[in-house]
Symmetry: C2
Subunit: 358 residues, 2 copies
DNA sequence: CTGTTAGCGCATTCAA
DNA sequence: TTGAATGCGCTAACAG
């Protein structure tokens, strides 16, 4: 393994001092033009590559940022990462991407590792931060921006507008006549999940409806929890005519279980999702994609870009900059899994008022 | 921004020398047990974190490996990355993941950046390496393992068994009676794509069939190229009864365009894909997922794990270890898009011989 | 067992 | 404009 050339090697090859070479290569400081050219040429010739390690050690800046994601396998995350990547690489930062697998242990191990590597900043996507250990760690670490889940109020944050999202869904369902609306939650620990649930209640009230606790099914973003919810529901004597799921996977599970029990979606039961995970299907005709799921589509790439931009700002401005919070608007995709409730059971009625655009 | 504590700080707080502290913290070398405990405690107290930067600079090992992927947005890659991550993080390596977006410029920029950061190794997933620049760069860089595409023979490589895959597909189609089989290629520059195409020809011959150049449609892994292929095909007087696509997206494009022209898939035209991108749909009943695509499923996670394991071996053994190549077996998923050819046009016939399992 | 010393490769001050 | 000298934080001899 041939040792890689250093500044000293270039300097020697040129008969100049290391300092001069360093200046020539970094572009900072005065160097006679002719020598600069010579230096650059020989550097290239002998295959010199500047060591980001040594530079970072010296300058205390690594030009890298760490990104923690909860599950690389979930289709919404790559899109967010792409957004982050697009703005960060444009500014010369390298992103170190790590997958925490929703595990607090991995979370702390990876965050430590990134901090040890002197990342200039951290972007935490959908991290729950349940343990105090991780919070202490972050407190002593570089600036960090939270995406999708906000562990505490005083933190830079970017996320979709959950309030608006729930409103859109409830308005849609109530608008086509549903009065008996259920809900499947996400995991307890997710701030996002709590926020959505609480807005669910608010939105229902706006339509003169109340939350029925037995129609709120605990979930965890999996297909299985959707199935389970339908099983539970079918044991009830008074059943909802529509159920909103915390994400698309739960919604798919519901649809499956409902169908296997002879319930037709949306005729007997309307179902909504969240995330629009199968969004590539927009490129295909309806006939080809699976039954179109009525769902909320979040601006994934924009969320990533906003988070990256926020971090850059913080990196430039230091700790003093005031805390920020960017909430991005979402869209509802009304497709095939929602319809008016079964006749004779509910009468369609008009929405009391159209909610103002936000 | 409070400067982060260094070994010197811990040493001072303990009234010991830096060397002793270093030994205590790294666990190497002799340190009196009592002092070791004291050191560890104070280190924790003042929030000391060892600088991976300085250590890497000193030891010339960064305990990190760079992973380049072609498109983080394509569902097959996250799975591969997960496999890589699983074995690498278990060994204490951090993975630096970068997205080249299929762009040669990004590819070279990112590879440079990773090498500059002294990654111990590189895993290149589906990278084309068209430019000599990148090949020179890699030649001077750390050990690297190629996944899915192999730029040259003398390289560590992990990938799916393309030969077997094509055989499975052709055997399946020929087995149900097709004699007129077409093909949509992937991008020219991909070794994988070339390998598959060449095996396509071999497999056809084995069934006594010949490749018809006008039935080989150039493609680029997109939905659109699938549509285009069907358009071209429909201008032909003598048409294939089955077309194999280089990946699932092209296959979807074909199905769409075929249907919009009033052709029924699979009654009038059989279609196969490659990758099994919608594999999560296996968890759902057929009725819910989109029309089940007959396709090849590769062991994505295993591919990632094998690549990581190979790199680790190379890191341990040095350059001397003999070059390796791991080819992993694939599966065919026969679903709803393939059926015997239209009657009267082709007669079902028996496969000449069953190909031995590989 | 512990401390002293000397770099890893680079950026940066200060003199020349 | 250039060169000599210093140190970022750590590890690895080596000497005590």
């Amino acid at each position: 393994m041939p040792k890689r050339p250093t500044i000293a090697d270039v300097a020697q090859a040129c008969g100049l001092s290391r300092a001069t070479v360093a200046r020539a290569l970094s572009g900072k400081g005065y160097v006679e033009n002719e020598k600069r050219l010579l230096i650059q040429k020989t550097a290239r010739k002998i295959g010199y590559r500047t060591s980001a390690l040594a530079r970072a050690l010296r300058t205390q800046r690594s030009a890298s940022v760490g990104v923690l994601i909860a599950d690389i396998t979930n289709p919404i995350f790559p899109q967010i990462v792409k957004g982050i990547d697009d703005v960060l690489s444009a500014k010369g930062h390298t992103i170190l991407l790590c997958n925490t697998d929703e595990s607090p242990q991995k979370q702390i191990a990876l965050a430590s590792s990134l901090i040890d590597r002197h990342v200039d900043g951290l972007i935490l996507v959908s991290q729950s931060l349940e343990t105090p250990a991780i919070r202490d760690l972050l407190a002593g670490g570089p600036p960090c921006v939270f995406v999708n889940r906000r562990p505490f109020e005083t933190a830079d944050y970017v996320g979709p507008d959950n309030i608006q999202a729930i409103d859109l869904l409830v308005d849609h369902l109530a608008g086509i006549g549903h009065t008996k609306i259920g809900y499947i939650t996400g995991t307890e620990s997710s701030s996002t999940s709590r926020e959505r649930l609480s807005q669910f209640s608010v939105a229902l009230q706006r339509h003169g409806l109340a939350v029925r606790p037995e129609w709120v099914f605990p979930g965890d973003y999996t297909i299985e929890c959707g199935r389970e919810a339908v099983r539970k529901m079918s044991r009830l004597s008074d059943r909802p005519t529509a159920i909103m799921a915390a994400n698309d996977f739960s919604a798919l599970g519901m649809i499956e279980e409902a169908q296997s029990r002879g319930l037709s979606v949306p005729r007997d039961l309307s179902v909504t999702g969240f995330d629009d995970v199968l969004s590539f299907s927009d490129q295909l005709p309806r006939s080809l994609s699976m039954q179109g799921l009525t769902t909320i589509s979040q601006p994934k790439r924009e969320i990533g870009m906003a988070a990256a931009a926020m971090l850059l700002e913080r990196l430039a401005g230091g700790r003093e900059t005031t805390l920020q919070s960017v909430i991005l608007p979402v869209n509802i995709k009304v497709r095939d899994t929602t319809a008016p409730p079964p006749m004779g059971q509910e009468k369609p009625h008009r929405t009391r008022r159209k909610r103002a655009a936000r």
